[in-house]
Amino acid sequence: MNYILETRALYKEFGAVSAAKDVNVSISKGEVVGVIGSNGAGKTTFINMVTGYLKPSRGEILFNGQSIIGRTPRAITRAGMARSFQVAQLFPELTVLDNLLIALAGAESPFPSLLRPLRNEGRIARADAILGEFSILSWRDSKVTAVPQGVRKLIDIAMALIGDPQMLLLDEPTSGVSAEEKTQLMDTVMQVVSRHQVTVLFVEHDMDVVRRYVSRILAFYSGEVLADGPPQSVLDNARVQELVTGGQRAHKRAKA
């Protein structure tokens, strides 16, 4: 079977601490996978290794069948795997449109043009289109520092998506967003990514959000994959309930 992303016996140690232990994951094209786990479970470490930010201590990472171990984040991005961040990584002193235009120029060529203007009609139309898709066109000319947190998260994802990646990794796309806005934000994101036919892997703490959008869940605990499968079977797994979701469910029961 052709997997878009495959990790084999992946390990990551920070001194005596193991952030990833024998992580074996295979993701097929078109899948929407949710990654769950408590803080320190190794979710972000997994994303950081897959996107080249961290080098694994051992193991193999294949993207479209090619090893990407030792490749830089930019090389992996250019190969077709883009990411967004837990804290939106934007250019705060620039306008939303300029953020998108820079992302587009970055995606077009690894060597940016020295004299041709950043702002040209084609790029502006493309940036407007993607801002429209994410329903944030009204923020186009605002400085990033002036836009709300939810919109920043969408800009972050839009910047990752503008280069037409094959796979998108979203690190906690709803973190810092109010409970009321979460569903709306994720509805928007998932509609856009499905339109672009992108394989998605996203890290999320809110189980309602995970259950609503994914076809498969990876549950991490202490650097290991505790469970991997369809949402209901993973969420009903006794060990997942005990070690990953138990706290959240108990909290929800208490609130109810």
Binding site: T77, Q89, D98, L118
Partner: protein, 319 residues
Amino acid sequence: MRLDKTELMMLGVAVVLATSGLVAPQWLVFLLTMALAKSLVVQGVVMQMRAGLVTFGQGLYFCIGGYAVGMSGHFLTISDLPTLLLIGVASAVALAMILGLLMTRYREIFFAMLSLAFSMILYGMLVKSPGLGSTDGFNVIAWTLFGWSPASGQAPLALFVIIIAVSAVLAVLLHRYGHSSAGAMCEAIRENEVRVEYLGQSPRWVLYMNYVAAAGVSALGGGFMALAAGHIDPEMAYWITSGEFVFIALLGGTSHVAAPILAAILFAVVRTYAIELVPHSWQMILGVTLLAIIVFLPKGLWSLLSGQARRAKAVEAKA
């Protein structure tokens, strides 16, 4: 090549300035020539500031440009102005291509201190080189232009017109560079280098390219300075000289390509009059000026003009 409004305005100002040289006293022509030569070096400082890097060692390339011009005349008897300037720029670019490999690994104070260190190494080498006049430096031979040798009275005015023309063309190119994908990428690196990497770009490559280009531009200023003053000495690489370029960059701001030119001219005028009025404490006047700029105009003098333009636009929009 179609020129936008800003570019046309800059070329217009250049024509007016060059024409004014015909009626201006010789001391003013010389003062403006020196100021314009410095503004070219400051353009190099500003290019790096836009990418979030402050250099305290741009005097290195200023000095390389000056010495390359002086030595080519002295040892190779080359007197053709464009050839001399090209040699200056090529020497600086060649050195920057080597040093840039190291410099672009560093950021913030480490970059600033390393740039300072390299300029001081050159200063030390020149001071210890009797063949190049040690601390006294040496005189630069008179220049020619494609075989034409200006009379001694004509040379300053001719050089004034040439430096205005070169500064104007360079300002147009730098204006385009600032608005290009590469220029925008420099700003993006200043704002968030991690994101730039995840856009598929190499921040180091962008900074390297910018560093080498800035060195070339600054060397051009050094070359002109050598030709205008007719003399070069190791002070060109001294840290105080580099500090002066940073001073001028802060004075003008980084938001417009014309800001370093305006600031360099203002700096020359303030310094000239400060020396005239208080010969023993003129540095204090410059210090107070810089302090006032930092406190009241943190984005430099240019923010006064851009602020006015914004207000005018807002009034127009309301109407």
